[in-house]
């Protein structure tokens, strides 16, 4: 856990009412054409302070990756704003007096926020050498030229624990863990402040996962990175995160300090998630109480009325099917969206 004094540090990233909706064309004749709307992210509010690591947890399809991508503007948000270091980010045509001009601020901000991808096999261009992959960001921003560039690339390789002599190799000549290190090096090339790590270890062998997790933790300390760490299980996230936000069906249902959320989860969904984490003690594990959720995640095309979780909630009441619960603070730094929590 980061040792930075959290209370004093100012927010680096603020996400306000972020929504990402996808249009799904309904199959049908030319005349009976219609479309459905998939609400991947439905009004997410987040604040990430400088030097902090926020874990974003949820089942597959809950919109956590989409949130990450929308924060970096790799997907255009349908609504809401992302404020990075006090500046609202947008990359489109803005009206300046009588003319429309391209706001290029995002390109500059790109240098300061980067992404680590889940699948190290898909995230590296198979036709490029490692050197070309790591040089690309430097070239895009005209950073360091000529021989300095190669030195910088080799520095990056060393930073992520790879042999700098391998820069002329191709991605297919490395193992999954090594490729993920290259992906991390690429994200670090521009010296970013914020890194969104989108399930960076879930595609790796279990034996490699810890290595990569430790590498990320070390880099975070050394480079003072702010991170959003996306994962589908709490086990991986709880050790690296300062705070954890739990997502369900495009919304944040609970957000709190990492230790607190693991020790005293308030939202029934979070409680189910916590109880799904195995305990590394066979005696305890055998007698452990588990909350097993029934049913499937509802479709984000047709979300349930009221509380999005009511269809699977063991504590469901009448008002849960009618009213949407708001995310409210129940203790300092602990926010929950549930009618039953006081």
């Amino acid at each position: 856990m980061s040792t930075l004094p959290r209370a004093e540090s100012s927010p680096l990233l603020e996400v306000r009412d972020l929504a990402v909706r996808f249009r799904l064309e309904r199959p049908g004749g030319l005349l009976r054409r219609g479309h459905d709307e998939l609400r991947a992210v439905d009004g997410v509010n987040l604040v990430v302070r400088r030097g902090e690591t926020l874990g974003l947890v949820g089942e597959s399809g809950c919109g956590k990756s989409t949130t990450g991508r929308a924060v970096l503007q790799l997907l255009k948000p349908s609504a809401g704003t992302v404020v990075f270091d006090g500046q609202p980010i947008h990359d489109w045509w803005v009206r300046k007096g009588r003319r429309w001009v391209w706001d290029a601020r995002l390109r500059e901000l790109r240098r300061r926020m980067q992404m680590i991808f889940q699948d190290p096999f898909a995230s590296l261009n198979p036709r490029m050498t490692v050197e070309a992959i790591l040089t690309e960001p430097l070239r895009n921003f005209g950073l360091t030229g000529g021989g300095d560039r190669r030195r910088r690339v080799q520095e990056l390789m060393a930073t992520v624990g790879m042999d700098p002599r391998f820069i002329r190799r191709y991605p297919h000549e490395f193992s999954g863990g090594q490729r993920q290190r290259i992906g991390i090096a690429r994200a670090l090339a521009l010296g970013p402040d914020l890194i969104v790590a989108d399930e960076p270890i879930s595609a790796l062998d279990v034996s490699i996962q810890a290595q990569i997790l430790n590498l990320l933790a070390r880099l975070r300390e050394e480079l003072g990175l702010t991170m959003i760490f996306i994962a589908h299980d709490l086990a991986a996230v709880r050790h690296i995160s300062d705070r954890i936000a739990v997502m369900y069906l495009g919304r944040i249902v609970e957000e709190a300090d990492a230790r607190e959320i693991v020790a005293a989860p308030r939202h029934p969904y979070t409680q189910a998630l916590i109880s799904a984490v195995p305990v590394p003690d066979p005696v305890q594990e055998a007698t452990r109480q588990r909350t097993v959720l029934s049913g499937e995640v509802p479709s984000p095309v047709n979300p349930p009325s009221g509380c999005p979780f009511h269809s699977r909630c063991p504590l469901r009441e009448d008002r849960c099917t009618r009213d949407v619960p708001v995310l409210r603070e129940i203790a300092p730094g602990h926010r929950v969206a549930c009618h039953l929590v006081d």
């Binding site: 980067q114 198979p126 700098p164 190799r169």
Partner: protein, 305 residues
């Protein structure tokens, strides 16, 4: 192939000089192609034909003093002999020289037309697909419209309007032949642009032009090269067809198609005027097709059997 990971604690060499050079996917494909005996033999044959077509006519002109237009009217058509291995045609012109210079025309037209087609098609398909949305829809409908027109009809119109020079023949062929490549590349890019490395490039601030030319197109080149090697023979065939119709290379110059046309008219009397150009053409097409198959197998080892 993978080496053991170095632990992060190991000291980093400031500037390592002894770089480990990797094998690119191209080098890998090249290795596989060289192991394919049929493909190697075919490319050898094509090379041999190309060299013969290039060097043959001037060499014969220098040694025996005649070229593909020199007539020996006193003799007229002669069957193959030691003096004229392929015989002579109706006007007493040596058929070997005519086949060689005709082969040069056919190979040039085939390769250049295929190159024009591949270049236009690749860029068009990649840009269309990357732009997506309305731009893509409009660009691909244009392809559909061109596709719906009878292909040869279009070439014939182009050749008639533009004139009958050799340059225009391959331009006309290339200008119509890119449709298939455009569709192939568009399909490839459609799936490629969903991949994380394209997203990564975007997040690294790579401009769209670089994403298309440095990330997307290099990854589509496999199918493009395959389409290319299979387009060359079809272009040669089409040039032959145009010449057959009298729209391609004009007499007294020769192309394989024109020679076959002449030969076909006289095949019952002067059989060699059809057999020799026809055989050379057939061998050329076989070799090109086998090479194309070999390249496809080399680039995509999973497709093999």
């Amino acid at each position: 192939m993978t080496l053991p990971e170095r632990s992060p604690s190991e000291p980093a060499a400031g500037q390592a000089t002894d770089l480990v050079v990797g094998t690119s996917l191209w080098a890998d494909a090249w290795k596989r192609l060289r192991r394919n005996r049929m493909a190697v033999a075919s490319s050898g044959l094509i090379l041999l034909l190309a060299v013969a077509c290039l060097v043959g006519p001037p060499l014969i002109a220098a040694t025996w003093g005649y070229d593909e237009q020199t007539q020996d009217l006193a003799y007229g058509p002669q069957p193959p002999s030691w003096e004229h291995p392929f015989g002579t045609d109706f006007y007493g012109r040596d058929l070997l020289v005519r086949v060689l210079s005709g082969g040069r025309v056919s190979l040039t037209v085939g390769f250049l037309a295929a190159l024009v087609a591949a270049t236009i098609g690749t860029v068009y398909g990649a840009v269309s697909s990357y732009a997506g949305g309305l731009v893509d829809a409009v660009m691909m409908r244009a392809v559909d419209v061109l596709y719906a027109l009878p292909y040869m009809f279009l070439v014939i119109i182009l050749v008639t309007i533009l004139g009958k020079s050799l340059l225009l023949v391959f331009l006309a062929l290339g200008a119509v032949g890119w449709l298939l490549t455009a569709r192939v590349v568009r399909g490839q890019v459609m799936s490629l642009k969903q991949q994380d490395f394209v997203l990564a490039a975007k997040s690294l601030g790579t401009p769209g032009r670089d994403i298309v030319f440095r990330h997307l197109i290099p990854n589509t080149l496999g199918p493009v090269i395959v389409t290319f090697t299979l387009t060359v023979p079809s272009m040669i065939l089409q040039e032959a067809f145009l010449s057959f119709l009298g729209l391609g290379v004009q007499a007294p110059r020769a192309s394989l198609g024109a020679l076959i046309n002449d030969g076909a008219n006289q095949m019952l009397v002067f059989w060699w005027t059809l057999v020799f150009p026809g055989s050379v053409m057939a061998i050329m097409l076989f070799a090109l097709n086998f090479l194309g198959d070999g390249v496809r197998d080399a680039l995509d080892p999973r497709m093999r059997r």
